[in-house]
Amino acid sequence: MKLTLKVWRQKNNADQGKFVSYPVEGISKDMSFLEMMDVLNEQLTEKGEDPVHFDHDCREGICGMCSMYINGKPHGPQQTTTCQLHMRSFNDGETITIEPWRAKAFPVVKDLVVDRSSFDRIIQAGGYVSVNTGGVPDANEIPIPKKIADEAFDAATCIGCGACVAACKNASAMLFTSAKISQLSMLPQGQVERKERAEKMIAQMDAEGFGACTNTGACAAECPKGISLTNIARMNREYFSAVVSSENV
């Protein structure tokens, strides 16, 4: 395959950034998208040009590090992570536009690399059960209905990549935040801090500069892990019931 790549280049956070077009040749349909980017970078390096910087690590769709906005969609045309996207999803001769995640709360570091530490701070605000190591009950002491455990698991599979934010016209982080709140609100272990958790995580989400939710559902449509919109509904319910009976007045 022969392709033209229109890639966002930005030297650092202070730089304005611009699109630069690169032709690439010899791309096979079996390559992953990132392997195609490796080919581009080898070519650039050989010519003495700075390679395109992008985040990636596990390349098996689970670490959540890769983050490219491809042809106007986070992670490109398939509902998967960029590392699991293969070139068989593109046509010979195509021009592919590649941008970083665009959101105020995800400042660009360089080229396609963004800073997603705001997600870490949302978790730090309450995305945990406050138990220390040791001194916990036997694992089978509290039975959990399979259905609940499975639903909690589905919410817990979020990989924190940020595609939901990139997909949203408001750059809202509701899907990410709600996935963690949902998981812990469904499980018996999460009950003690349930209200406080919802209040604190949502406050942090707002403080980071993420936008509000207008229920377009773009986040769930683009989520590579299929995190469902139900989580946002559940988070709203958690939040309302927390604030009306809040102890933090």
């Binding site: 030297k11 079996d30 390559m31 992953s32 392997e35 490796d38 080919v39 080898e42 390096t45 050989e46 003495g48 700075d50 390679p51 910087h53 985040d55 690590d57 596990c58 390349r59 098996e60 689970i62 670490c63 959540g64 590090m65 398939q78 998967t80 699991q84 293969h86 068989r88 570091v109 690399v113 997603r116 530490s117 997600f119 870490d120 730090q124 945990y128 059960v129 138990v131 220390n132 190591t133 040791g134 916990v136 009950p137 036997d138 694992a139 089978n140 039975p143 959990i144 209905p145 455990a149 499975d150 909690a152 817990a156 599979t157 924190g160 998981q183 812990l184 499980l187 272990q189 999460g190």
Partner: protein
């Protein structure tokens, strides 16, 4: 120096309890006077950092990724072992201990393995309390499945994403301590060196990957939780960033490196599709619970398959060779990884491989789907099947998967004593970064167990013992050794940037990987290893003359990051070869063709090689010195491993 493993005296089952009692304690008010550095935030690092912070120590946690949640533990699929015996099928701490020692081909320390089995039960309790959503039965209790090398069901799992769920549990505990102000996080920061003062580890030198700033950090103890070195092979199931740099720099500062040649080749990975390949993807071992491994019984049939003249499903039952079931009737498809991998190689070497390259075997779910329905199989392995289809473009519900072995895990690592301390006092190694628990072969679902055992339940006791002894005198980076070490790091960076050669870092990495895979992979010979040693030496010399690293230090520079890592792999590769050459026997993942039984199984030499090979760095381009820690087996009898 004599290697003192510090294994406590007394009966096996009482060692750990006694050792904990005999360890010195730091009183709660004094804990806040100590600084501890944790490098790496995978299962071992995150659990250690969180647990130590909960106790009251001040922790600095470092990772090269943009968030601690991305460490490669996240990619572990199948599960985690624990001797809970919830299934009432005959499991016990002793059985898990026994299976692990046997699975490791009798090259692990009994005392460490027993402790691992003992604390395994606490890990599951801890994770459930954190809200880890393990798979459950309809009655609400935890579900189990079986894994290779065991005849009981003791593996706890969260669909095919167990590592993810466990890591997110540890990450949540870590995040809580960040919020409490007890852990300071340093993401996108790579450890470049250890600072050793008067023979003790007192801190580290790091590089901020965004600004390139070289910084120094002081502490009373340094914990390396930096994973394994499988990427020395270039192609492996490791993440792209997984590297040996932290462990290797520690090695060059005095920490011995143990059993580097013990590498695990995982039998069920998606086969290589071409030269562009950047990494290999594992298909969880749990698939061997339901999938049947086979190749055509005849070469002729395999050839037709490779040419595309027939399809897998056209091959009748009597023309299929379910070679694992045939050769190992009692363990069948669930033989340990080393045995399964080696047998896949044998059948492919015989010309019975099933894909275009001839390097693949089938993993077939046809019978399981017939027996249990597609729905049941989807519930168990759905995400794995999806991943397979995404990568290969084939539907594994309809046609058998194709798999081939790939580098997955390294049992070798920094030598540590029973306290997980390396040969440098104050410097510890946890998880895959150390060598201690898996011998020459790791059983499935044991890596997660070991990482969390080390971090949650071992290090909080053993590091306390050391800290109590050295006292809470404040530490800072004013000692000239910090500046000196930082200067050396900066010089190395300048050297890499100033070569301005003609070949990219990946060029060298790929070449190294090929040498390692061909000569130090699934089967090794003295001749091949000697040849590889010379090739690596030449490649390393070429690297330092002709590598091309663009850009500057003072920016995000991914070429420079890679160059550092590959430079270290080029040195490690040679040590792996030395170790493999030294070990004139076959055991677990280390298979020397000269040493095999008439049936082609690994042939150990317990008389001469029942020891841990710990290597001491003696200087640039010098041969390393070998130290031996004899392995004594008081509770298991050494036998020829048999899974028949």
């Amino acid at each position: 120096m004599i290697l003192d493993s510090k294994i406590p005296a007394g009966p096996l089952a009482e060692k750990w309890t006694k050792h904990k009692f005999n360890s010195k304690l730091v009183n709660p008010a004094n804990k806040r006077k100590y600084e501890v550095i944790v490098v790496g935030t995978g299962l071992a690092g995150a659990s250690a950092a969180a647990s130590l912070a909960e106790l009251g120590y001040n922790v600095k946690a470092f990772c090269f990724q943009d968030s601690p949640r991305r460490a490669h533990s996240i990619a572990a699929q199948g599960g985690i072992n624990a001797a809970k015996n919830y299934q009432n099928d005959g499991d016990s701490v002793f059985r898990l201990f026994y299976d692990t020692v046997k699975g490791g081909d009798y090259r692990a320390r009994e005392a460490n393995v027993y402790r691992l089995a003992e604390v395994s039960v606490n890990i599951i309790d801890q994770c459930v309390a954190q809200g880890v959503p393990f798979a459950r039965e309809y009655g609400g209790l935890l579900a189990n499945r079986s894994f290779g090398g065991a005849q009981v069901s003791r593996t706890f799992y969260a669909r095919g994403q167990t590592g993810q769920q466990l890591l997110l549990g540890a990450y949540s505990a870590l995040s809580r301590q960040v919020a409490n102000g007890k852990v300071k996080l340093y993401p996108r920061t790579e450890m470049m060196d250890v600072v050793v003062i008067d023979g003790q580890a007192k801190g580290i030198v790091t590089r901020n990957l965004i600004t390139g700033a070289i910084e120094t950090h002081a502490a009373h103890a340094v914990l390396l939780c930096t994973g394994g070195y499988g990427n020395v092979f270039f192609l492996s199931t490791n993440a792209m960033g997984s590297n040996v740099t932290a462990a290797w720099r520690a090695h060059k500062r005095g920490a011995y490196f143990a059993n580097p040649c013990y590498t695990q080749i995982h039998p069920t990975c998606i086969p290589v599709s071409g030269d562009h390949q950047s990494k290999l993807t594992l298909m969880s071992e749990s698939l061997r619970n339901d999938g049947r491994v086979w190749v055509p019984a005849s070469k002729e049939m395999a050839e037709k398959l490779r040419k595309g003249e027939i399809k897998a499903n056209d091959i009748p039952e009597n023309e299929r060779d379910y070679y694992l079931e045939r050769k190992y009737p009692s363990f069948g498809n669930l033989v340990p990884r080393d045995v399964a991998s080696r047998n896949a190689k044998y059948v492919c070497d015989e010309g019975r491989g099933v894909n275009e390259t001839g390097e693949a075997v089938f993993l077939d779910f046809r019978d399981a789907i017939k027996r249990d329905t597609e729905e049941v199989i989807r519930a168990k392995y759905g995400n794995l099947f999806d991943m397979y289809q995404q990568i290969t473009g084939e539907n594994p519900y309809k046609v058998p998967m194709m798999i081939y072995p790939a580098v997955h895990y390294t049992m070798g690592g920094l030598w540590v004593d029973y306290n997980l301390m390396t040969t440098v006092p104050g410097l510890y190694a946890l998880g895959e970064a150390n060598f201690s628990d898996h011998g020459a072969n790791r059983l499935g679902a044991s890596a997660l167990m070991q990482g969390l055992a080390d971090g949650y339940f071992v290090i909080p006791y053993t590091v306390g013992d050391y800290l109590a002894q050295i006292g809470p005198k404040p530490v800072d980076t004013n000692h000239p050794e910090f500046e000196k070490t930082a200067k050396e790091v900066k010089e190395r960076i300048q050297k890499l940037l100033s070569i301005k050669g003609s070949k990219t870092v990946d060029y060298f990495h790929k070449k190294l990987g090929k040498i390692m895979w061909n000569e130090c992979g699934m089967a090794r010979t003295a001749e091949g290893l000697s040849k590889a040693k010379a090739e690596i030496k030449a490649l390393r010399a070429e690297f330092w003359k002709d590598v091309k690293v663009l850009g500057d230090n003072e920016e995000l520079n991914q070429s420079l990051e890679k160059a550092h890592r590959v430079a270290d792999f080029l040195e490690l590769g040679e040590l792996m070869i030395d170790d493999a050459l030294n070990r004139n026997e076959s055991c677990g993942g280390h298979f020397r063709e000269e040493y095999q039984t008439p049936e082609g199984e690994a042939l150990r030499d317990d008389e001469n090689f029942a020891y841990v090979a710990a290597w001491k760095y003696t200087g640039d381009n010098q041969e390393e010195e070998l130290y031996k820690e004899p392995l004594e087996f008081e509770n298991v009898k050494l036998t020829q491993r048999s899974y028949k």
